[in-house]
């Protein structure tokens, strides 16, 4: 049992100054792989350091295994941490770096030796044990840092942007290895990153933070498919979601979204009810991911679903850039309704400077309140639909 609970945790570095972390409440269950993600300065590292005990908690409570831990020394918390810059001890060789935490606990030498070799074997660094950190490459240092956390045999691992100093290829490889370590150990991992690919691929739960507050905490698929607000929607997903400002119009029986250039997009039935009722005549923000834009002729590109007329879901823009991604192709377009991007099959026609008409899959669109920026259809972790 190793449950970590944060209750309204706040961090204020100096009195009267802005909060670095504000009212963070979160329950982290045993064996979870929780990812804190957000732009730099959002408070994710600070939150992690408060869990580690390296930063004092200004207000709120931190509970671990049912005990209040606000004032427990870092070394008493039974955590292992991997730092962004690896924090290897420069004057010790790799073996001593791995063994340090056990040596200072005066553990039996044979047991230390066994654990060090086990961790080194797991990470493939056995041949480096006699070397000093100064002579290692970035990836090797990273492994040593992870290894020195592994030897502790603890239930909770804290990782502070552990892969950010590695090159792209190594990062992908270490990502796979981390996922495997997590599967093997079954320990709780709390991981901080600003890279949403790491967040999406590694996490069993993603905590999206911005300006010291949690914006949304949920499973990766939920975060992607049902973002709680415009910030989460824009932050998760690459390239990020397209946003269009518009107004809800209910001229007759059907509801429409009028974009700034006058385009009228009919709102599909499953969304129409609430929008007609509460947002008629009001401003909303439409969010749609690049992969939900299509060329004419996509399955069901014309005709009707329910009473909504799909042929109205089109938007024209001028192509300003075209990126070939291999299996797919990105088009970046400008229109009077706003700039947008689309992820399309490689065969798509259209050169830079040409006009292009694309269809929006409105059944997969998100609607955000223009004022609060909240997802209109988001309630308590799940969409209404």
């Amino acid at each position: 049992m190793s449950e970590i609970v944060l209750k309204n945790v706040c961090k204020q570095y100096e009195k009267g100054q802005q909060y670095a972390v504000q009212d963070v409440s979160l329950r982290i269950g045993e064996g979870e792989f929780v990812i804190f993600v957000g732009p730099s300065g959002c408070g994710k590292s600070t939150t992690l350091r408060m869990i580690a005990g390296l930063e004092e908690i200004s207000r709120g409570e931190l509970w671990m295994d049912g005990a209040l831990c606000n004032y427990v020394e870092p070394k008493e918390r039974g955590l292992a941490m991997v730092f962004q810059n690896y924090a290897l001890y420069p004057h010790m060789n790799v073996y001593d770096n791995l063994a340090f935490s056990l040596q200072i606990r005066k553990m039996d030498k044979k047991e230390i030796d066994r654990r060090v070799h086990e961790a080194a074997g797991m990470l493939g660094i056995e041949h480096l044990l006699r070397q000093r950190p100064g002579s290692l490459s970035g990836g090797q240092k990273q492994r040593v840092a992870i290894g020195s956390a592994l030897v502790r045999n603890v239930k909770v691992f804290l990782l502070d942007e552990p892969l950010s100093n590695l090159d792209a290829k190594l990062r992908a490889q270490m990502r796979v290895e981390l996922a495997e370590i997590h599967r093997k150990l079954g320990a709780t991992m709390i991981y901080v990153t600003h890279d949403q690919t790491e967040a999406m691929t590694l996490g069993t739960k993603i905590v999206v933070m911005d300006q010291g507050r949690i914006r949304q905490a949920d499973r990766p698929a939920e975060i992607y498919n049902h973002p709680a607000d415009r910030f989460v929607a824009g932050f998760i997903g690459s390239p990020s979601m397209n946003f269009f400002k518009g107004t809800i119009r209910v001229p007759g029986r059907a509801a429409f979204l009028e974009l700034e250039d006058g385009t009228m997009l009919e709102v599909p039935e499953n969304r129409a009810g609430l929008l007609e009722e509460k947002y008629a005549g009001q401003r909303v923000v439409l969010g749609i991911r690049p992969e939900d834009l299509h060329e004419a002729g996509w399955p069901g590109g014309s005709g009707k679903t329910g009473h909504a007329d799909r042929s109205s879901w089109k938007l024209e823009g001028e192509i300003v850039a075209r990126e070939m991604l291999g299996s797919e192709c990105m088009l970046y377009l400008e229109s009077d309704a706003g700039d947008f991007a689309a992820r399309l099959p490689v065969a798509v026609r259209g050169a830079v400077g040409e006009k292009k008409q694309l269809y929006l899959d409105m059944t997969r669109a998100h609607y955000f309140d223009a004022q609060t920026e909240k997802n209109i259809f988001y309630r308590e972790g799940r969409d209404l639909v």
């Binding site: 005990g53 020394e73 001890y89 420069p90």
Partner: protein
Amino acid sequence: MRKAARKWKGSSAYLYLLPCFCVFAVFLFYPFAKTIYLSLYKTNKLGQAKLFVGLENYKNLLTSEAFYNSMTVTLVFVAIVVLGSMLLGLIAAVLCSKAFPGIRVFSTSYALPMAIASSGAAMIFRIILNPTIGIVNKLTGLDINWISDPRYALVCVAVLTAWLNSGINFLYFSAGLGNIEESIYERASVDGANAVQQFFRLTLPGLSPILFYTLVVNIIQAFQSFGQVKILTQGGPGESTNLIVYSIYRDAFFNYRFGSAAAQSVVLFLIVMALTLVMFRIERKGVNY
């Protein structure tokens, strides 16, 4: 033609060294050579070499009890000074390595001895250690004549010198501590190390290159202490604080035995050089990382 140009290019480097060489020649190389030369002669009162005696000055030295006394006194003095000044500097630097309100006042006062002239400090110590009005006796309630008692005089001079030399050590160690990455302490505290373990397993090894350098500089500096002895004790009481540099000064400018003084200078030079060489040999083996 081309060959000449290359030759000029190669030797032009010496041209750049010339100004520095001139200064060294006047103030270092010439006096050094002259000292060795003088050490082989008997001199008149003006310090002019008069009679070549070969190694007799050295022979006299090595058979004189006064010389051995002054060697012993110097070694004890150096040991106290080096240990004291390095400990003082290290403790002060560790205390000032964390930011706290008023840190500037503290670090300035720890570094201040560096800026005090040894003779000035000795004058102040004379008042502090004065048996009737000095603050040391007043505070401790003791009645000790610190400077005139052969048992305490050397320790007093050594403590004064240790304090004087601690300022620069404080600076060296502060710089050394600044070079140790903060995050390894954070990792150590999560790893479970307490403050004492962190100091001995992280701070000291992290300081080891600078510790070594400071040790060498301190030893050389301690061997050359002069001003505080001159002001505080004049080598007395008896011969108890007659450090070798002071003994050189006394032989040359009181007794007008320039030959003997020169010979002592050469011996001092040999000792310091030997120590330095030995220490660099040790350093190459294990201090670096």
